[in-house]
């Protein structure tokens, strides 16, 4: 009896260690970056936007609005499977940590979620990716378009934050109103959420085996990558929106520092793969320099601050049960699909910029030095601002 109690105590203690408290942000960010390098080595880098666009394409095809004979099923398309894995991983982690609840925000917030999704969807088409694919993975691939999007994201995050501050001071009623929460965890004890979490954990481990047994081995791996991203992001709450927004808000630098370190890890990994010809140097170098990257980044930056999550952030928070992000995800998918359709049919996609591989301009050594220096500068800027509070808006 006593022994059983001791065992229970030990298990609960270990469980609380992993799921009872948030994981450290910087190690989680470095792990995300390392996984992104592995993902690129395996097939392609991480982005959330192409999978969301695939969902939008699928929806329009299903409704008969736009016939897409070339569409790949969302259950088989790599970007879509990564997103499904992200959603399932975050849902599993939220249940295991008793943080899942269906949370319905006041109507004004839901509207902002929708507007945020629309802006992010169209911005991701212009910049050839969301803040993960168009910025993080693109800069790692030494694409100049990624650098243009980085600048755009900073400008967009600043503008979005200025709007939110204005709204809170001048239109506080917009975020007021009834909100609802369902299926939340019990206040005391473990409750049943960890049990459901364990069931989902078994399911997300079994699903890749199912894909594999059906002959879709590559898809099985994409699903596992997505699940890993979902668990890591939900438990650490590492957030690129915060990395861009926080220096202008409270000045807190943790997420910006984490993003800058993760970027260096990813840049070094991608560069090794490209320099050694394991991957083509032109991979993930998009024709978005400079107009598409910059303007897409601004639109995306405003959208992610209004929406409360970026491409990946919206998906993992949707898995945590935030209805505002469910709306953001759906409208992101619709907007990305529609904008892309309009741009392709109008022949505009080739007019938003040119593809420039940075080493082609300044050489490998200088390109790597400059991009790593930029990340170091971003890190130091965040630390300087945290100490001085120069740019803090609140």
């Amino acid at each position: 009896m006593d022994e059983a109690r001791t065992k229970d105590g030990w298990f609960k203690q270990e469980f609380e260690e992993i799921f009872g408290r948030p994981w450290s942000v910087v190690p989680a960010a470095i792990t995300v970056a390392a996984l992104n390098v592995f993902l690129f080595a395996f097939d392609r880098p991480w982005t959330a936007s192409d999978g969301l666009r695939n969902w939008g394409d699928g929806l329009f095809h299903l409704l008969g609005i736009a016939r897409r004979p070339d569409i790949i099923s969302p259950l088989l398309y790599s970007g879509s499977i990564l997103n499904l894995g992200l959603l399932l991983g975050a849902l599993t982690a939220a249940l295991l940590s008793r943080e899942f609840a269906i949370r319905v925000a006041p109507s004004g917030e839901l509207i902002k979620g929708g507007i945020g999704g629309l802006l992010m969807g169209s911005g991701s088409v212009l910049a050839f990716g969301c803040n993960i694919g168009g910025f993080f993975s693109a800069v790692s691939a030494l694409s100049m378009s990624g650098l243009a999007m980085m600048l755009g994201l900073a400008v967009g995050a600043y503008l979005g934050l200025r709007y939110l501050i204005w709204e809170i001071n001048r239109r506080p009623s917009f975020t007021a109103g009834p909100s609802y929460s369902f299926c939340h965890a019990r206040s005391t004890g473990l409750g049943c959420q960890p049990l459901f979490g364990a069931v989902f954990l078994v399911a997300v481990v079994c699903l890749p085996f199912l894909y594999n047994s059906l002959g879709y081995t590559q898809q099985a791996a994409f699903l596992l990558f997505g699940v890993a991203f979902g668990i890591l992001l939900q438990r650490s709450r590492f957030c690129l929106v915060r990395a861009f927004r926080e220096p202008f808000m409270t000045g807190e630098s943790e997420h910006t520092r984490a993003a800058a370190i993760a970027l260096v890890v990813s840049i070094v990994g991608f560069s090794i793969l490209k320099f050694t010809d394991l991957k083509d140097v032109k991979d993930w170098v998009f024709p978005g320099f400079w107009f598409g990257g910059l303007v897409g980044g601004i639109l995306f930056g405003v959208g992610m601050v209004l929406g409360g999550g970026c491409g990946a952030g919206s998906i993992w928070r949707a898995g945590e049960g935030h209805v505002k992000l469910w709306i953001a995800v759906v409208l992101f998918a619709i907007s990305a699909s529609l904008t892309r359709l309009i741009f392709v049919q109008g022949g505009l996609l080739q007019k938003v910029g040119v593809p420039i591989f940075f080493p082609d301009v300044v050489g490998w050594g200088s390109a790597l030095t400059l991009v790593v220096a930029l990340s170091a500068g971003w890190y130091l800027f965040a630390v300087w601002n945290e100490r001085t509070g120069r740019l803090n808006l609140i």
């Binding site: 939220a94 917030e109 939110l164 909100s179 709450r237």
Partner: protein
Amino acid sequence: MTEQNKVGLTLDCRGLLCPTPVLRISAAIKQMEVGEIVELLATDPGAKNDILTWAKKANHDLLKIEEEAGVYKFHVRKAG
């Protein structure tokens, strides 16, 4: 609750996501007197760390974080 710890203002941020709870408490506390306590209710799990970090950076005292039925309750005393 003692008179000294009496809540002067309650901000209902249930259903609101990052960064709105921090923006709301930051704007509200500016209108309060030193020593007054503001209570914030939130449902976003991210609010735990957000309010903790903000209070630390703004030098306000985070007196309490409680969780009940999916609602996080924060008490912050305005510092001088």
